[in-house]
Subunit: 205 residues, 2 copies
């Protein structure tokens, strides 16, 4: 892997775990194995590096999401598959979820603009599917389409970012399934049970 990519990777991990203000350029440089001044050759300022990290995350998202959404054109169980993929995307690298949450808190206005531009179209698309499902009767009539989609995304991102902490609120797993798996399963169940009009969502588990 070339140096700029190594820098981006280290910066993502450190920004996610210690925050932007809590991460010094020296710390990032050290984890790459170069000097701070060398890092500043590749990224002219800390602010530039932050933007590059966020750009890369959103770009990754925009490459993966269309593929997932292709599967949702037909209704029903596809919706649950989509939610499961969304969860899997953030679970595969939970630093993504943590970084997103931090940016939400640190720079709300910038994130508003980024979401309105990059995520809003996907929310609108999914909301339309929801409304079509409401006309067909498979989806509960009192679902607020946009608000529902936004809540599922919020719960996924925050649920995974907070997972290492909230497991302290749950009892030790007596069964074979881990506490993390139970948590994710219940997230999927909540998303499905509050969307579909009939309760036969059990088939998908």
């Amino acid at each position: 892997m070339d140096v700029p990519s190594q820098i981006l990777s280290s910066a993502t991990r450190l920004f996610a775990r210690r925050g932007y203000d809590g991460t010094s350029l020296s710390a990032i440089a050290e984890s790459v194995g170069i000097r701070k001044a060398s890092l500043l050759y590749h990224f002219p300022s800390k602010e530039d590096l932050r933007r590059a990290v966020l750009d890369q995350l959103i770009q990754h998202w925009n490459e993966v999401l269309p593929r997932l959404l292709g599967a949702v054109t037909s209704g029903r169980g596809r919706f649950e598959a989509l939610t499961r993929e969304l969860v899997a995307f953030f679970q595969a690298d939970s630093d993504r979820a943590r970084l997103l949450v931090r940016e939400l808190m640190d720079r709300p206005e910038e994130m508003r603009a980024r979401l309105a531009q990059g995520v809003r179209p996907w929310v609108d698309l999914l909301s339309d599917y929801v409304r079509r499902g409401q006309e067909g009767g498979e989806i509960l009539p009192d679902v607020d389409a946009e608000a529902y989609v936004v809540h599922v995304i919020t719960l996924t991102v925050c649920g995974i970012a907070a997972l290492p902490v909230v497991t302290a609120l749950m009892p030790e797993g007596t069964s074979r399934t881990s506490i993390e798996a139970r948590h994710v399963d219940e997230l999927l169940r909540i998303a499905a049970a509050s969307l579909f009009s009939t309760a036969d969502t059990v088939e998908a588990r």
Copy 2:
């Protein structure tokens, strides 16, 4: 209001909005109208101030929560009232939600210990109500009690902390109800619809 309380209040607001690392002691002192050295007379270190801020938030929580839980002894609509109160608690001062989210990200191990000690008992209590409701049949049999309760808390805290940002994902309100109110209503609907076995939760809206 005496000086220490003013310091706590300013620190809460600034820690919530700019983060711990992003807030200098001078900035807190300035917003109170004193010098940094004077602030350090009341709180011997920045770390002491941080702990005091968090203690105060948790203490406030522990004073308000028992009163809310008193109302939940009998089942059903009370559960929805409790969720509504939980949302109202954080909505009344969204800095509380933001501070909590930040601490979750910044100091996961400390928060694990704090939650296990201070919040876990409430989660257990509510989980027992859920299980009793499952035996009675009013609550869906496939609800994972602890995971459900944790998700509702997560969604409430994160949903409110992120509210100013995620409204960018929703269309302008054409109806009389504001976009924020729609968002909160849908949160309550999701919590109810994924808990109760019959769909007559509409009465509560």
